[in-house]
Amino acid sequence: MSAVADAPTSAGGQSRFTKINEAVIRIAGNSQDGIQAIGGFLARLAGRSEQEVMTFMTIPSTISGGPSIFQVRIGSGEVLSAGDEADLLLCFYQHSYEDHIKSLKLGGIVLYDADHVTPKPEWQESYRHVGVNISGLTVEAIGGTGRDKGKNIYALGLLAKIYDLEVAKLKRLFSERFGGKDASILDNANACFDSGYNHSLENLLKSYQFYPGADKGGQQVVMNGNEALAYGLIAAGVRFGAGYPITPWSDIMELLRKELPKYGGSFIQCEDEIASVSMALGASWGGRVAVTGSSGPGISLKTEAIGWASMAEMPLIIVDVQRGGPSTGMPTNVEQSDLNIATFGGHGDSPRVVLAPSGVEDCFYTAIEAVNIARKYSTPVFILTDQGIATRIEAFPEPKLEQVCQDISPDLTPVAEHKPYDLSAPDGLTRHLAPGTRVASGKYPVVTGLEHDELGHPTGSPKVHLAMIAKRRNKLRKLASEIPLPKVHGPTEGQILLVGWGSSEGPMREAVDRARSVGDAISSINLKHINPLPNGLENIFKGFNHVFVVELNDEGLYGYGQLGSVLRARYADPKIQGINKVDGLTWKVKEILDRARALASAK
């Protein structure tokens, strides 16, 4: 919590509040305590107050119960990560207290449920302890039913008091959230909140107040990465999807199932992953790019059909919400270890496109780009997001929907003749006709996984195979030439260039800002286009002594992570090194900096 200066805010002239730029609040409890709801309300409130916000959560993979945390970082300035250290730890149980106290910065506040937590004397010195009988007081607040359901909202009341949050806006959020249900639910929520808000926190001397956020020049929307991706697909014009439940992909599927019918579309839950990708391909062939998706093992199962899509040059969107692997791995933890399967997964030479959104807002726009690339280049396109982005909540400027929403309905007007795999097409690209389109010549195309001639009929001719292999490769080279180079964050010359992809972007940029403020010559770039890579990266690399590839995957047999290996193979540049980790958690800014400095000084 960056406390700037005490400023008098009350009419009496007494300094009641300490003004702050940002706060990192970690809420620790069990998964059924509704701690995600507290975090969600805080994030939504921040978004409505034109503040920047980012959240981070861990959830157990068990069905019910198990420790769970939600961390929310609210800032009046730019927020790039969920924060390394917390300013305040709200803990509901002894295990929450003991397991998470180390995530608190020295001198930080521990707000604990005195009904369940016994503070340790040895920590009293280092952290300010504030105990409230949260469970008991919650029961009291809602009429003594003996259940402490609602203690999350009680605790939110406490936080609202400590951080001087806008009560009216919070209450509006409650009525939006609970309003449609039984009236007593909203009443109970308000009662819990008021009771917490009015609880006297005598031993906590100060309250805090955020500086107002910068004017964002318009409304912000608040959502998590999975929601942004699903809505992005809808905006892109996708109207059919098929999938199979798997964490953390399922949210996208559930949202599309609920929303697509309003737009005349369908999302089908299939019997397995293979059926899902197959059904989506059938719908894509029907004339409109369709989506399938999965996480972890589900992606492995889809690879044969994705190879077919590469061969038949069928547009398709495959969402991969990466999680800890291999195999069942760590289903509710984050990793970026599917770059290889997305880029190379499958037998034979089967080029495809891989895009990696860097955050929640980028999920929305990446979905639209993915659809447009799939259509234009007749290719399967992977969207590689991860568990970290999927579940974190961010506020971002509301997209101009009237401008970005697109109609990609198939054109069924008859044509004179047609060859989908036309080798003499001036742009080198394949065009499919949706079934239902009459071809006056009477010669109709076939789509197939066999090597084929221009009409799609099978051939064993080496000459045709060479030409078609080149066609499928060259179209992605053409795409590479159209991809914009990523912007360098920081000066274009220096000692260290950090290269990241996907969710590494925020913490990496924050690391650069922090390092530069103490004089280190560090810059960063984040790659969104993973396959093909943009042309000209070597010119960016030239400006730096070291190029460190920051990614959440293992360093592998040869010492480089998955993107690191690709960059090494492409540029054969020994200054490319890897900064990798697989502890199942998102990057901390400090981790990146410490590792980068150590690696640079190791030479």
């Binding site: 978004g47 737009y263 019997e271 929907l401 929403c405 949706a434 109709y444």
Partner: protein
């Protein structure tokens, strides 16, 4: 705000070919397609293969029912019989092994204006694609699935198939198959298929009538069509061919096609069994169910453009 590196672009419909617009053609002005117009590549099957007859009858069906090239989609997986789409002039898809049904389901649900025919073999349907057979049947997707059952893997040259009879000697069951074969009709009935029939490539009139009935059925229509592999399992179906001394027993007139248990029992009769429609039920299709969900949801957002519907969601996330 992020900007799109790849905004929507309008794409040329074809590559280097003639782009002159083609006038629409009224159905009334069109003549039924001839066999010559419907046939594409010459089939790659062995001489004498039962699949030739199924293909010829498919052509006849298209001709007789005045189906147009562009409205017929032919989908297949992998196997000898699955090469079907190459032999037909019409939009065709030759998909991966065992997955023709989910692919065709995607076509059927997203394009209700098309006829969807799926052709394949017993390996595709009951071995590698067994799971999809069950679930496509229970979803009651509107499409016609003709399984050309030859009781052997022909394309890979004589391995045991899921419908190979007990004792069948193949390269993988040198001492004779010991796994109980799948009974396709029983499988289809128990999975919830709403049209289940059995036919033979050796009885063209009966097969054509069955295919027509299948096409007219609103739902998942399945035909187990015996189709001899003359190369690896010659004579497999002789007992059902009268000119070879066998009997072609049609489903008894008194059989109640709406009675699931009767269908199941009839399907259990000794080889070569009966031919005809075993089971037929009227149950809402997945297509109809989805269409209803869509209609209900669209009614609630009547008059709004797509972006306005999405805007409503975004307004709730502010």
């Amino acid at each position: 705000m992020s900007t799109l590196a790849f905004p929507l672009v309008s794409l040329p419909r074809t590559g280097s070919l003639d782009l002159t617009p083609v006038a629409p053609l009224l159905d009334a002005d069109r003549k039924p397609l001839t066999k010559k117009e419907i046939s594409a590549d010459h089939p790659t099957w062995c001489p004498g293969c039962g699949d030739f007859s199924v293909l010829a009858l498919y052509f006849k069906l298209i001709e007789r029912r005045k189906l147009w090239h562009e409205k017929v989609t032919t989908v297949a997986g992998i196997g000898c019989s699955s090469r079907f789409p190459y032999f037909v002039q019409g939009h065709g898809a030759h998909f991966i092994h065992g997955r023709a049904l989910p692919y065709a389901s995607g076509v059927s649900i997203s394009r209700p204006d098309l006829h969807v025919f799926v052709f394949g073999g017993d390996g595709d349907a009951f071995s590698i694609g067994g799971n999809h057979f069950t679930h496509t049947a229970r979803r009651n997707i509107k499409l016609t699935y003709v399984v050309m059952d030859n009781q052997v893997y022909g394309l890979t040259k004589n391995q045991t198939s899921p419908t190979s009879p007990l004792g069948y000697k193949s390269k993988t069951d040198i001492w004779g198959s010991s796994d109980r074969p799948v009974n396709p009709v029983k499988q289809a009935v128990s999975a919830g298929a709403t049209f289940v029939a059995r036919a033979s490539a050796m009885n063209p009139n009966h097969l054509l009538a069955t295919m027509e009935a299948a096409m007219d059925h609103d739902g998942f229509s399945f035909i187990q069509c015996l189709s001899e592999c003359v190369e690896f399992f010659p004579g497999a179906f002789d007992k059902a061919i009268p000119r070879k001394g066998g009997v072609f027993n049609e489903v008894p007139k008194e059989h109640d096609v709406t009675d699931e248990y009767a269908a199941y029992k009839l399907a259990d009769e000794a080889w070569p069994g009966n031919f005809g429609i075993f089971y037929k039920a009227d149950r809402p299709t997945k297509n109809a169910n989805e269409a209803k969900i869509i209609a209900d949801h669209k009614a609630k957002v009547q008059g709004l453009a797509d972006w306005q519907i999405l805007q409503k969601n975004f307004d709730r996330m502010k």
